[in-house]
Symmetry: C2
Subunit: 357 residues, 2 copies
């Protein structure tokens, strides 16, 4: 009974507050926008009380309509199934804290959905968009930027498009990984990668692999690439064949997965084939430090996912504020996390060394 007079479902509006306070809307507006010192102390206190009483919350929709900015930022994620994306999302979300609200869209790996969602975001007049998608064509994004909506790309470059982009330094990451493997005595490297539709990061990683191997070739380290379609296990037998061949020739082979999903698929297969202690038979490392890497004892390159997310909204923010104009690119360094699978200093690897000699 105490505060039942305003429980009539509809939220209080600024008009309600003005009426209840015996004044008018602009005064309330001023109070809300912190134009302090422009209101008499008594009025301010009175307004404060009324707002609390009515449980008033300013309507961002109306506010945005008038002000031209609604503090909404969109994020397009190609695959929430991929822990990498979720980690980036967390970074983004945390950074948005500063004053943006995140409208997220999950395209579930469907290119059509990506485009549709982008249009939908446009419809909500988001002030900017962070894109972590794969199949986006140049023109789709261009229609956004042409409409004046800033775009930041995550881990993915789009040809001929001037946008900010932030992501892992793929080339250096691959180099670091190879350096590690070589230092551990592996002399045959098999890079396993998903078929890269238009995915620039996959392409870059493979190129970096082949380049680096090319340089190392003289020093007796050989390498090859193999394309693994996650929905089709056929290529797994080819991997097996390579492993067997290498071990027959007393070469120390290591598998290098281009990302976490690939690593998981390969690990599962190896476990099926070699049993729970598959790590002792075959060395596996990957880009992406997934949740289970520690449990599997698998060496990885950890991406600074959280930082990537933070950096993305920082870029976006600056662009929304109009501070910068030139397109920037931020490539962050990864970090090799050495675990038993590729390390000669731990028991499992000693066994492998024994095996191959």
């Amino acid at each position: 009974m105490a505060r039942d007079n305003f429980s009539n479902d509809r939220r209080a509006t600024i008009t309600d507050v003005a009426r209840e306070a015996g004044t008018d809307k602009p005064s309330i507006s001023r109070y809300l926008n912190g134009e302090t010192g422009v209101l008499s102390t008594e009025l301010r206190e009175h307004i404060e009380k009324v707002i609390a009483k009515l449980d008033y919350r300013t309507n961002q929709m109306a506010h945005g309509l008038k002000r031209g900015r609604n503090r909404l930022v969109g994020m397009l994620v190609a695959d929430l199934t991929n822990p990498y994306s979720v980690e980036v999302l967390q970074g983004v979300e945390a950074a948005c804290h500063a004053g943006y609200m995140l409208l997220i869209c999950h395209a579930a790996n469907e290119v059509d959905l990506e485009r549709r969602y982008l249009q939908l975001l446009t419809t909500y007049r988001v002030e900017g968009v962070i894109v972590n998608a794969l199949g986006l064509k140049e023109d789709t994004l261009e229609s956004l930027t042409r409409g004046g909506v800033p775009v930041v790309l995550v881990n993915h470059a789009v040809e001929r498009l001037v946008t900010d982009m932030v992501g892992l330094d793929n080339t250096e990451a691959v180099r670091m990984a190879i350096r590690h493997l070589v230092s551990q005595g592996f002399d045959e490297l098999l890079f396993v990668v998903q078929p890269y539709a238009q995915v620039s990061s996959r392409r870059v990683r493979e190129a970096a692999f082949l380049d680096t191997i090319g340089v190392l070739g003289v020093s007796k380290v050989s390498g090859a690439t193999i394309v693994l379609d996650l929905d089709n296990d056929e290529t797994l037998v080819e991997i097996d064949a390579r492993i067997d061949a290498a071990q027959r020739q007393n070469r120390r082979i290591a598998l290098f997965a281009a990302n976490a999903p690939v690593a998981l698929r390969v690990a599962l297969h190896l476990k099926d084939r070699h049993g729970v202690d598959w790590q002792r038979r075959v060395a596996l490392m990957s880009i992406d430090d997934s949740e289970w890497a520690e449990l599997a004892g698998m060496t990885t390159v950890r991406q600074p996912t959280y930082t990537i997310g933070e950096c993305a909204v920082e870029f976006l923010h600056e662009r929304i504020e109009g501070t910068v104009v030139a397109a920037r690119e931020c490539l962050l360094l990864g970090e090799v996390v050495v675990r038993a699978s590729t390390s000669t200093t731990v028991p499992s690897q000693r066994i492998m060394a024994a095996h191959s000699s």
Copy 2:
């Protein structure tokens, strides 16, 4: 040069379209809202052309302001780090497809943030909220529902609150798990659970465990609960002690983790203690079928996460439409996924049997 006349940054409004088309706003509006047959074919076609030319997109903010509904739905997630939450999120996202846009908030396990975010969502006038949070108090949510915003709770009940709720049938899930373990010959069960602040699901799971064990007690199966704080490893030694004691007495003990994070923590510890083939020494199962369960060969209870998400938005949708009034509760069944860790029919388990006999 062809279409450069309208690239002046600002998106075209309905007024622009009307002017360009030589007609007025309501006609455009009618066209947009598909009030077909109410417009002359020629006008319709003309409007269509102009809209395409100007690349017009209706402004959802203005639309919502007028219409009273903006098709925005909020989702509050306590912990995006937990794969369970992400899976539910995916289901929700997919179901929203029907016509809602998801505004997501990640509270990062901070109770304060949960409340603040809920208020923020309120500010955007979301039409409903799906809550997968932990520390929410009754009054916080009540202020929402009192404001006329429907709320659906995921896997978490709040005392004395009338809201829809959807989640796993925890009691039955625990029963199924215990039945499985007992059928595999385990006669000592250790239920490992996080300290349950106000988390009803954890409480329910523990209660179900103790209840079921109580019934089974007569048939020589004993069980106990142990509380594990993820940030503090002390209780891990207690788990070790229990395992050792049981094995000394030739009892077959199985650990039962109440959720995935607990399972991972325990698995990591067991691996540290027993090596890569820890599964052969200690049986572990858990609720939540995480990504790595297959790789670790761990038996789990798989939650119908995706369905939970779908069901949540279905409930929300009905409530937004005002179809239903009474609070409903939807408890979905889990599914035991048997893997090597608890199965007597696979090699790893045979070894364990040998060990304990």
